[in-house]
Assembly symmetry: C3
Homo-oligomer: 203 residues x 3
């Protein structure tokens, strides 16, 4: 079950990378790298920061094959991919729910403070997109719009709150993952975003 | 004493990140990440390169709290922060003096060559700002203007020269830290900057 | 022999960094950092991902001296460097051939899958340039033009194919290194590049 969500999330992330790279007129190599970085960049940064090397994707070829396959299919079907937009959005949203929890789990495994674990979860879910945007010479979209990272942080906080209740570990995972997903869906549905505090008075 | 300088430096770095992020119209999450990266990015890169993981800030929550606190206060007081510009500049300058020495110390602890130690010191002091600028889609300001990194390099060189003299370790630290601070103050006061060798003849 | 190629490659990479930094009007510190990152960035990223820390260049001062020397010479001779363009192109091309093999070798040493080893080889050869372009606020040129990375990937694939034949290890290295070099030369000579699949129909 977790495995299927993980793969669907990886596919959604890789395809989102392909779409950005196509619009930047990159060649086939560039598209593959951007797809790869979007799908596994967050987990890679997390692994580097906690010293979990070689990083995860080097030891599990599944991700590599899934990203390469998704990239080839997305390139071939590029003119039809708009029809899948809603599905991809759902996969992506479910993906960040799971990735947040994977990041928290790795942080707990390394004996780190809950706040650091939540940061690692958010990083796992969001920083693939950050690295994608940097490689594409854009200010990361997650820093500017939508409650994307915030949903991950809220889900992470919920995880540590739910853990204090007399609930089975599985339900704690399920509950906090769902909170990420529901917050993200609500934010997109009702166009909720964080304040930006831009100072007009500044030169 | 060192601890207070470290905290003041962290505050100055975090606030400088907040100001850049505000001008880039980032949302609250983006502002927090930029503040964080500016304050702890240099030390994080240093820790990664020498294999010191989990990286320092994951093991010491003080930095996390200081950055979050500074960010909230800087956002709230954003219209008044210009009045603090001189104080922030001083904290920042004292901060890079200390950070240079912390980086050198970590390099020595890993048994590395003095040149590498000086590079690690400069990285600790300057690369938070470099990562901040990359995330904000700017060419890093430290590569273009002001004797900022150069002050750190000079302070690092002084450290290894002073160590050869019959001086107590504490005074070696103090002396080379002061050299960083004084050079930076002089460079800003007299608008000294490095040459840039731009070639007009190049197409 | 390998050592000389390695040094020539490092010189070519460092000078390519200097040229980009000069055109971006960076100061002396910026130029040095860009030269350094171009020359050793790919190997550094590889070392970080496989957990080989402190990263290679911190333990072998040769690279540091070669980069600093190349940078100083390139700045001094900047108005004459166009005459060396063909030599630099050759050094660079031979360099990526060797770097690809060094990356593969490190991957094998860490017991990683052949596909990961090829990725590490390509990373060693190409990602110094990627980091250089990010620091200079450009979309990495290797993602957009020329069969550069592709030559490295083909060379890497050849390495694993040739290894299955009853050929001495030395000749396997030589053969696959030559494939990288010849493919790159052919691609530049005949202006071959990868397709980019840019979608005009996308808004």
């Amino acid at each position: 079950m977790f495995f299927i969500i993980d793969i669907l999330g990886t596919i959604a992330f890789a395809i989102s990378g392909v779409l950005v790279a196509l619009n930047k007129r990159m060649d086939a190599f560039g598209i593959l790298i951007i797809a790869f970085v979007t799908a596994i960049g967050g987990g890679t940064l997390r692994d580097l920061l906690i010293g979990n090397t070689p990083v995860s994707w080097m030891l599990n070829m599944t991700y590599v094959y899934v990203v390469i396959g998704s990239t080839v299919i997305a390139i071939v079907l590029r003119s039809k991919i708009d029809y899948l937009r809603t599905h991809l959005f759902l996969f992506d949203t479910i993906g960040i729910g799971l990735y947040t929890l994977i990041g928290i789990d790795k942080g707990l495994g390394a004996g780190l403070h809950p706040i650091i674990c939540i940061a690692l979860g958010t990083m796992t879910a969001c920083f693939g997109g950050v690295i994608r945007d940097i490689l594409c010479n854009e200010i990361p979209v997650v820093f500017r719009k939508e409650i994307y990272a915030t949903a991950c942080i809220m889900g992470g906080v919920s995880y540590f709150l739910l853990r204090k209740l007399p609930i089975q570990e599985d339900y704690v995972f399920l509950g906090s993952g769902l909170i990420v997903i529901v917050l993200r869906l609500l934010a997109v549905r009702f166009k909720i975003s964080l304040p930006s505090f831009y100072r007009d008075e500044v030169s």
